[in-house]
Every structure is written in C-alpha cells, then in structure tokens.
Symmetry: C2
Subunit: 357 residues, 2 copies
Amino acid sequence: MVVYNFAAGPAMMPQPVVTQIQAELPSLGGSGMSIMEVSHRAAAFGVIINQAETRLRTLMAIPDDYAVLFMQGGGTGQFAAAPLNLATNHRRIAVLDSGQWASRAAGEAARLGVAADVLATTKNAHYRHLPPLPPIAAATYDYLHLCINNTVEGTTYHHLPDAGSTPIVGDMSSNILAEQYHVRDFGLIFAGAQKNLGPAGVTVVIVRREWLHAVTAVPSMLDYRLFDQKKSLYNTPPVFAIYALNLVLQWVQEQGGVAEMQRRNEIKAKKLYAFLDESPVFANLVAKADRSLTNVVFNTGSEALDQAVVAQAAAHGLMNLKGHRSVGGLRASLYNAMPLAGVDALIDFLHDFEKHL
Amino acid sequence: MVVYNFAAGPAMMPQPVVTQIQAELPSLGGSGMSIMEVSHRAAAFGVIINQAETRLRTLMAIPDDYAVLFMQGGGTGQFAAAPLNLATNHRRIAVLDSGQWASRAAGEAARLGVAADVLATTKNAHYRHLPPLPPIAAATYDYLHLCINNTVEGTTYHHLPDAGSTPIVGDMSSNILAEQYHVRDFGLIFAGAQKNLGPAGVTVVIVRREWLHAVTAVPSMLDYRLFDQKKSLYNTPPVFAIYALNLVLQWVQEQGGVAEMQRRNEIKAKKLYAFLDESPVFANLVAKADRSLTNVVFNTGSEALDQAVVAQAAAHGLMNLKGHRSVGGLRASLYNAMPLAGVDALIDFLHDFEKHL
C-alpha cells in the first residue's frame, strides 16, 4: 500500500532523499564511515554544510549581508534567541496574535523579560482570519514578530503587513521553501527543519548581519553573532540533520526551486480547498485570502465523525489527518514532499467517505 | 578495506546499529514512513523515547528520584542550562579546571552572571594530571562542576573527589556508558550523544528531581523542570537522534551492559597504553592514575612526524588520529563501539611505523 503522510511535522520527506540517505548510510562517499560517524570538523562535513548554505542562499535569493545559521532547538529555541539577541534596545516587541505559535513566541519573550505587546488578535474569531496590523509608532519596538504560516490554524501571511521601519521577525517553520518571500522584507527568518527542510533537529536562521551585535547574559547556543562568527560550528552541530537538509535542498533545486514548489503547492491546495468548499460534510472555515498552502484544516462538525475519518483514512494509507490536539478536527499538511497524487487520494477517500454516510 | 574511526566525536557507532538503521530507514516497523518522517506525538515514537529512558535507567541504575531528559544543544547547551537552573541560591559554582571543557563550562557560567570559582587547575602541567580538590566550605557553592572525562587532554576522574555536601555536576559526554559510576554521587550528569550514545543532536541529562524548581528568565529549551514535566516533549525533539540513541542503548544491553563495556574498554586502553609506554617513538604523558579509557592522547614530539602518522594511518583505514586542534599531537578515541581489533590494528600500524623510521 502506498502511504501518504499528512503529518504537520515531523513530516513527509521527498522519497528520493530518503532513498539516497538509505543507500549511503553505511559509507558516506565510500569513506567506510556513516554520516552519523563523521566529525563536524572533517573535510567531508565542511563540504556538506557549505553546500547547504549555498543552496539555501540560491533557493531563497538570500542577500550577502544576511547570515545563514544552522542552530538547534527548533522554533521554540528561536522564540528565546530572537528577543535575547535583538530586543536589546527597546526591550519590547510587537506581536500579531495569529494563533498558538505566535502566542507562544510572545510568552517566551515575556518570560525572558522582554515586553511583548500583542497589537491585534483574532483569537475570538478562532483565528480563522489573520489579525490586521494597526499603525506602529517608529522606534517603539525592536521588532514585529509574525508567524508567517500558522500550522495549527491553517492561515498564512501571503503578503506581509506594512510595519514601517520596524523590522519583521518571521517564523517560517511551516512554509519555508513552500512559497516565495523576499528575504529583504525581514530582519530575521527562522524555521525548524521538520516540515519542508528535512528531519527534526536543525533550525535554519537567516538574519541581517548588520542587526547582530555583542550580547551579554545570552547562552552561547542562542547567540546569533557567535554562530555567525563560528559558521555554525561553535560546538558539535546536528551533523545528520544538516546532511539530510542539504539533500532536501538539492531536491528542491532539482525540482525547479521555490517558484516551482509554490506552483505545485497552489495546485494541491486549490484542489483540496475546492473539494472542501463543495462538500456537504467537510468544511474549511478559514478566510479565503488567508488560507494556508501547507496546512489545510477542516472538519465535519462532529468529533466522532472526525475520528472516524482519521481511522478509516489510516486504513487506506492516508496517515496523520488528526488536527492539532489544541483545536481538534482534521488537518492535511501538504508540504513540498507531498505529491499531487497524495492529495488526489485524499480527496477520493473523503468523497467516498461522505457518499457512504 | 576495514575502516576504524578513532574520531573523538561524532564517533564510531556500533556496526549492527548502523545496519539496523539502514535496513528500516524507509519504513519504520513496516509503517511505510521513515523514522525521519514520524511525528514526535505518534505512538510509535512514544514507544521509542520510553524505551530509551528505560534502557538508560537500567544501564546506569538511575534511581527513580532522578529525571532523565533528552535535550538539544550538547555539552555547551548544558554549560548554560546547569547554572541557569541550579546556581540560583549562591549564584556561585566551583570548578576544577581539568582542561578545555571544564574551562569552557566555567566561562559559560560567568557569561550568564554566575560566579565560577576555579578551585584548582593543572593548566601549568599541560593538564597531564587532574587537579586535586581543596576542602570546600559548605553552603558556598551551588555545585561543583567536574568534567569527568577530558576528551582533549586524555584524563578521567575514575574516582570522584569528595565535595562534601556540595552537589557534583558531571560532564560525562565522553565516557558515559564506557565506565561505571554511581548516579547518586551526582546531582546532575549530562552527556552529548555523539561519542558513546549515538549521532550528534541529542543530549542526555540525568538530574535529581528534588533539585529542580521553577526558574525565571531561563529559555524554555534549557528549563530542566519544564522538560521533566513535559517528558522531553515540550516541543519537537530530535526524533531521529533519539531513535538512534535507543538502538545504541539496546546494543549496550545486548553486549552485557556498562560493566562489560568497562571491561572491554580497560583491555583496549591497557593494550594501547602498554604499547605507548614501551615505544621509543610514541609517548603518552598523562599521569597513569588519571589516564582516560576513552581518549588516548600521544605524540612523537615532532609535529611533522605526528602529521605523517595521521596521513599514513588514514591510508591504512585508521582514521582521524589527529589530536584536538588546540593541543596537536595524536589521539585515539576508543569508545564503546571501537572493537579490540581496531586497537590491535592501530598498534600494529604504529609499531610498523616506528620500525621504518
């Protein structure tokens, strides 16, 4: 049975990448050593991490004055790193509360003594549309935190709000390389790997170098400038995860880059949303302009029926359709590695499910 | 050609573990999904992380009142986490400066505003023996930081110094499971995985629960109590690294546990040290009582000759014998996964090398 994995992350990876990793697992480049056994100071790994950086720079057209860092700790680590490194002037950041992960970012900043002002929230609307940004007074906030794609709620900032002179910190964990953005519109972008970039364990950070400065009382593992100076090799990095990331980046390049990924993702998402919008049973309640390409949330309105969908779908090889535990319902994550055939199989199954109700 | 990898970490892994990972890489347990694609909230991963904890508890006889945490960031992350979580009373820790990594731990604590008193150092003796612990006044320090095995300098605390009522924080990164210790002698033990536990990317923390308490202004990713409460699943953990770690733990159990590992490691190390002590060319200069089982440092006294050894050894499949870049010379790391045959091959090669000088 062909299996399609709709998990929100860790998530499906491109099949050729998994195949290549398996093939070369015992002996990287004929070295007789597994990538798991390769020293981060070895020349072979130097090639890999440099390739990964170069590929990401090419794919996202990252300007030279932005640093690319490979860190650990995922988005949650960055919820701390960003305020600790960058909220050193006003000690105050602005947040648009577009859902759970934006809210957690605000909470982490506050925990670390940085005021996090929620300028707008759509919580009362169940986050079914994105909060609009009110005018921001200049020189008030160190940055505006935006969760670019809201994995749990299924919304995306396809266009960034105008924050004026306030830099934007973008949590792009769930739609990096899935959709085109201009890096220059951000002061910083971060993304955990486990959705569009590879296995969990490495976190990509793209940050304007000019913004970096010496910080005090910040753990070294969260110090952007230190990681830039040491080219992400201050200590032992997650070697395997960076290796796998590099292969995923290669795959995206081979497929035609981010523009092609976006084109395919739009086709996949459009098809699924069109089905849901026509369905007498399933509904997506997100405002159309804000709908995510990568995370399609939907439900039947009945918890029991939703559970039946999850179970029966799994029996058909359509895995992990359960919505996030905080919101329930159903969710299909359509990251870059999900082929159109997977979406077609899902639609066929859902169609069949509703016919037999 | 059989390859033996003497790298200090990331390092050699048990061959059967690499083979198993390769075999099940495309489809974990017949699921049709790679371990790299498995959600950390999936039942399959719950089994894995629970097994890993149970196996580690069994192997190290970890008492129930100690928490076992799987974190990210390696030893360097713990150099921050330990003072941030545990040096909250006196805001002062004691350090025995036994080498580079102890010194870096002291530096990180100081960076974070915790006084780090170096009670003794053997820096002037090139760290060739361990610094003795002077008497410690009770209720002066939150803890004593000890680097149990000094990977760079090739020394080990085979017996812990008497710190009285001051808890010991042990950095066991390079000899965890290689040698038996009593967990109760420590308040906290930590270890990056990439030497004896598996691939880089996961860090094991063993900490007395009673010592944990609510902390303020500590990044969530470094918060021991939070990780204990959330069973290391506060956010997405490094799934693949924990999976591989679990298989390494299984292998250690199958081999006979830590006692058997120590027995083998003593045989391997004794053999290599005996050769070096007899050699007219190679010398290990570490005080015999303090010699490490896992990291044997040696040199010829000539940098050029050391380099020739590294290059010629590599041509014979004996890889990564270069000493740490900060001290030069040669180093053979003999972690659990290094078979006696590797040590024999190394001795044969070194013997041959000196004969042909």
